[in-house]
Point group: C2
Chain length 313, copies 2
Amino acid sequence: MKRLNLTDSEPQPVLIVGSVAYDHIETPYASGERILGGSASYAALATSYYAPARLVGVVGYDFDQEHVDRFVGRGICIEGLQRDETGATFFWKGKYHENFNLRDTLEIQLNVFETFRPELPENYKDSPYLLLGNIAPELQLHVLDQVSETRPYVVADTIDLWINIQHEQLLQVIKNIDLLVINDSESELLTEESNIILAGQKLLDMGTRAAIIKKGEHGAYLFHPEGMFATPAYPVTELRDPTGAGDSFAGALLGYLAAHHNTSYDSIRRAMLYATATASMTVEDFSCDRLENAGVAAIEQRIEDLIKLTQLS
Amino acid sequence: MKRLNLTDSEPQPVLIVGSVAYDHIETPYASGERILGGSASYAALATSYYAPARLVGVVGYDFDQEHVDRFVGRGICIEGLQRDETGATFFWKGKYHENFNLRDTLEIQLNVFETFRPELPENYKDSPYLLLGNIAPELQLHVLDQVSETRPYVVADTIDLWINIQHEQLLQVIKNIDLLVINDSESELLTEESNIILAGQKLLDMGTRAAIIKKGEHGAYLFHPEGMFATPAYPVTELRDPTGAGDSFAGALLGYLAAHHNTSYDSIRRAMLYATATASMTVEDFSCDRLENAGVAAIEQRIEDLIKLTQLS
């Protein structure tokens, strides 16, 4: 079984646009070289536990077929995964500090990502759910243009880089999405508000219909016109590499909504628990390895644990 | 109405032993001089919203009757509040940094606390609930000796100072209590374990029957033989002075258990939500002012908010 058995109806397809990358990760305890990374990779693998994922991204001449097979192995549609033979795959090198509280970017090589324009395959355009993973806001806008008629439910992520260098385009993205999912340091940078409650309200004022602020090991907060909702993180005892946790969270969250074809406040709240449990897999190993191989039963167990951890009986 | 109307049966009395103090608090935004402080003051006021509180502590010749009247005004029994005319009241001066993440102790004058031995009035000894607020572990042990026959349900708190200078006595306390309530930096110091889950397990290994690790604005974790439970903090937007939040949490928690006369895992989990809501009052103003004056309706509203924030419908 590839997917969680959540509902009798057929899960809706989720279109995922983002980066596919080679990462080089250093932590205080170990390191991983030329490992599969990128916002779309993590998100698509996470989504694949809930709904059909349709991937849009670009890789270079050096991208191993083995990784493409990993996507296919989890049922992810790769029709939108372009291969650009003129350059190498996007590369990121990062280093985590003690306790994983901080990380430094040591090296970025955009490579084929420098000229990438995400063009949606014709038969992707009817996707009722769209995840704009962390890429340049101008590219996110270009994707939104292509779905202006079908108007899917849109979740978007971003990082500090884009808040700093493509601020206007990012504000334009935020005005046109249903759910913004960012971490707490990014929300503080974007809203200039350190109190998470006030920051969340400001995000809604910017035009997104709802927002989730992720606090890493301290969980996540949902801000929605119908109310606020908070979840703690899943209590992980063996943290190996936090890279991709946020992308996995967003991918699982949207996958859950697509599986139920329901984007109500109640559905989003439940989706947060599933997303939290799913993302907890990602941090237990380098790259997408644990997320890819966890299996449905292990994820279901974590969801059950998380419900016991948070819900009164 | 002085108390929350939680149950048809009569709330059980809660014995609270700890410090009663004058504090001088400086924050980045304001300061408060010679304001009512101390672990027992906050805890007793918090308990008073749930159950009859019996206070044991000491004050000096300079302690204003006005503050005694505040305790009495909330129905707290002060028979165990000694006045030692030979010295001044315990004094603590502290300063909070930007964002309230760190605080420095600028001055401590033990005064009458230097020779204080908590002696329980005879008619306090049958109290079925006992809160050992933050005082020296040797004094906590002295209290435990006096209730060795009645064996109340015991909650204890401590701070880094005692972990460092009365380590053996503190371990002895932990072996003889039902619930240890400490914050995350203290639990890390005590267990030498930075992962909160592993730290919680180590606390149980030390002999306490259950433990709550408080993470300040990030909520609290319960570790219990029957499972783990996590609550976020109540989302406060106007933080003025965090002093006493932990004492208020412990006082409200034990008050809730005493009100229901039920110390089951399920009861403790519910108590955490009530304690979180009650403690959130404390941080909105200097000293015990907001906690004392909040009133039952405002606390009930916060509990309702917190249930909406955390519980799926």
